[in-house]
Symmetry: D2
Subunit: 251 residues, 4 copies
Amino acid sequence: MTERHTPIRVTVWGENRHEKTDAVVQELYPDGMHATIADGIREYLGDDAVVRTATFDDDEHGLTEEVLAETDVLTWWGHRAHKEVDDDIVDRVQEHVLSGMGLLVLHSGHFSKIFKRLMGTTCSLRWRNEDDRELVWTVDPAHPIVKDVPNPIDIPQQEMYGEFFDVPTPDETVFISSYTGGEVFRSGLTYKRGRGRIFYFSPGDQAYPVYHHPDVRRVLANACVWATGPVERKLPMLARTAPVLSAMDAG
Amino acid sequence: MTERHTPIRVTVWGENRHEKTDAVVQELYPDGMHATIADGIREYLGDDAVVRTATFDDDEHGLTEEVLAETDVLTWWGHRAHKEVDDDIVDRVQEHVLSGMGLLVLHSGHFSKIFKRLMGTTCSLRWRNEDDRELVWTVDPAHPIVKDVPNPIDIPQQEMYGEFFDVPTPDETVFISSYTGGEVFRSGLTYKRGRGRIFYFSPGDQAYPVYHHPDVRRVLANACVWATGPVERKLPMLARTAPVLSAMDAG
Amino acid sequence: MTERHTPIRVTVWGENRHEKTDAVVQELYPDGMHATIADGIREYLGDDAVVRTATFDDDEHGLTEEVLAETDVLTWWGHRAHKEVDDDIVDRVQEHVLSGMGLLVLHSGHFSKIFKRLMGTTCSLRWRNEDDRELVWTVDPAHPIVKDVPNPIDIPQQEMYGEFFDVPTPDETVFISSYTGGEVFRSGLTYKRGRGRIFYFSPGDQAYPVYHHPDVRRVLANACVWATGPVERKLPMLARTAPVLSAMDAG
Amino acid sequence: MTERHTPIRVTVWGENRHEKTDAVVQELYPDGMHATIADGIREYLGDDAVVRTATFDDDEHGLTEEVLAETDVLTWWGHRAHKEVDDDIVDRVQEHVLSGMGLLVLHSGHFSKIFKRLMGTTCSLRWRNEDDRELVWTVDPAHPIVKDVPNPIDIPQQEMYGEFFDVPTPDETVFISSYTGGEVFRSGLTYKRGRGRIFYFSPGDQAYPVYHHPDVRRVLANACVWATGPVERKLPMLARTAPVLSAMDAG
């Protein structure tokens, strides 16, 4: 009844730069944010997923053709080094997404090359880093991504992300957040691109323990299930084709 | 360059019930809420619009076939008497919307028969009437409805309307609001139905002076321009039609 | 990893009127169209589904509260008797869809009370019954509904349904058809309404053996899987709620 | 009542390569396809538009910062030289679109750098160049782009473009085409990106007189009106902002 790969093969990509220089981040994420994100997905999916990590400093950013070919869902967290990401690797990730690989873009990943490439817009937004409390409200209550997620998710301390968020009209708006400062943000959005599924989810910042939050981890796990692509990866291609109807058919 | 009627013929429909019994409402809206809404539209559109009003207690609720045939945009505010609205009039309004008449549904109008009829859903939501401050954020900054509207609109006192708002996926999300209590609401939504354009706008309550707020009035005026239907009103109809291609064509 | 009911409980509703009076239909569908549709779903879903049927002439059209409460997906084929369907039953079906039951609306069901109720539009279209050949093209190649479905589906003889199809903007356009006569039709459309999923699929007419077509049966089976609602059925309801943020929170 | 620039300043961009080497194209478009497209827009808009042209071989492809800053709507036809278009010019055009300039992408322009950049997908499709007849059906009958356009537009000879067209879910589907060979294609699509409006329209090939077709010219003229951006061009930008609500407000 399914053509999806099981267990789901998840690759958690982390930029892993703040972790090397910032004591606050090191304390919150001693093994790197990617490790915590991977643990969160494992916690909820258990044997239904095989989760590995890759980081900026790995060879080819850890995203070789082999790794991507064996990845059903890729998650992307980056911030400081967006511009240093190799364009050839971005091409490769884009091609895999359009072929059917799922992609979760997290928080400051809104400004990553891969997200801007797939959206076609500036992906800019308002922001402020002053300990706002974020409430993440569900606006699509039967969506598989909100399964067992409380409404709202209450995140005591967070960076504020506010509208206007310059992205295309989403296929689905799953979450909208408010902040202590009064701002709002479309914080959970889905897009189909080619044969792939993309989920942007804004909660998560290096300076706060957001990826330890049980509800945030639940959302990431649910989103991995939702975004899992079909077993057969296939890039849409230009194709010259013969007519289906001939004069004889039509007559 | 336009097939729209000018000046725009607007009919402001008001239930006009609270105004008859509630001293607070009478003080805020001495001539009825419909009169204030109509003035707000006139204030910004001037000679570009001809605005009249109609109320529940008028004959046929003031919405005769003749009135609707000469209405480019109808605005709808109701609350207490939703269930008493005549089903035949609802049929008539729906037919005009599907034929091309614009419709602005305001605040508690989310629970009107005509809105539920056009949406197909329960149109339910969360609410609380405790003097929340509402901030109305623009999420579609080049939309004609937000022309000259500050971002956010700041409404000092309002009823809270919160998600989940049970409506279909909107064609466009123009505004999202936050409230002092932390809730969010998709407060400005557009829909096409048949040949007609619909705008739902949530700010506006009988117990607060919201329809005196200059930015709210500006939005209503802009929305009248946006929703103005084509001159030729035409209901989509079932039609038996001949083939365009014959065997000879195809050969 | 799932909150869906398994096996999927499908109820196939058939008007079963043509079958009683029309020799052509009787020959094509000796046990009624509903029986053939049910067999088609069983053929592909096997033990993953439990399929029963209900018809217009059954008590309460076979759609009692008990039946609907135990139905994950309802399929609807009607034509001649649309207007005779009991409004109370339509209310009940609508409530179940908005609560999370899946609904497949088939062919001439576009003019059923339940579909018009959920869409809010006239649902009118062009038509012609002259043995057109229909080609059903996939425009969403990674959608679960097109799994193992050839592109195009080739239906040798069909009634023509053509645009303009007066329905709201669909959430997803899965199929678009062409006909020998040159017309086009958005023939596979998905909608979310409340917590329920709706799929409209136009191939299928009483005068042609369309529900014996293996690819059409495959689509129906796939759509049952896709439309299966969550185990917990819940109607969105108006609710007064307390603020999440208090002055102390905000301070 | 409008913030749009009038008359509309249109720049018609043409690759102008086929015209230099191909006798068939030279006969159909003796002054270049861009000249014919520009004439078509002038024919219907008259004094409401000022139309100029620019081509690949002009300095900076004719698309200097000054030209774009004075362009309300840019139309783009290219085919043979897509890959030779300067990336810096593509950056510049993208920035203007996201700031509010309208963009019409024509026919083989689906594979242009600028369209692929704005869509984020492969933009691939099926094709065949064998004198198909194309019928262009309206599926959004009250859209301003279809004003005074017959339904269907009948184009006697055309290249076939067929689904799957690998583009994001459009904001609006205005036209769907069928071909003699039985294929279908979403031939008129709108997208909002940033503050700009984009219309993709597939009819038009160098080997056929499509840009002399009165209905095709009408669509292009209507689309220029529809796509005209706001007077104030503004790129969405990342911005650090102060909270709207302070503790005192909330208290």
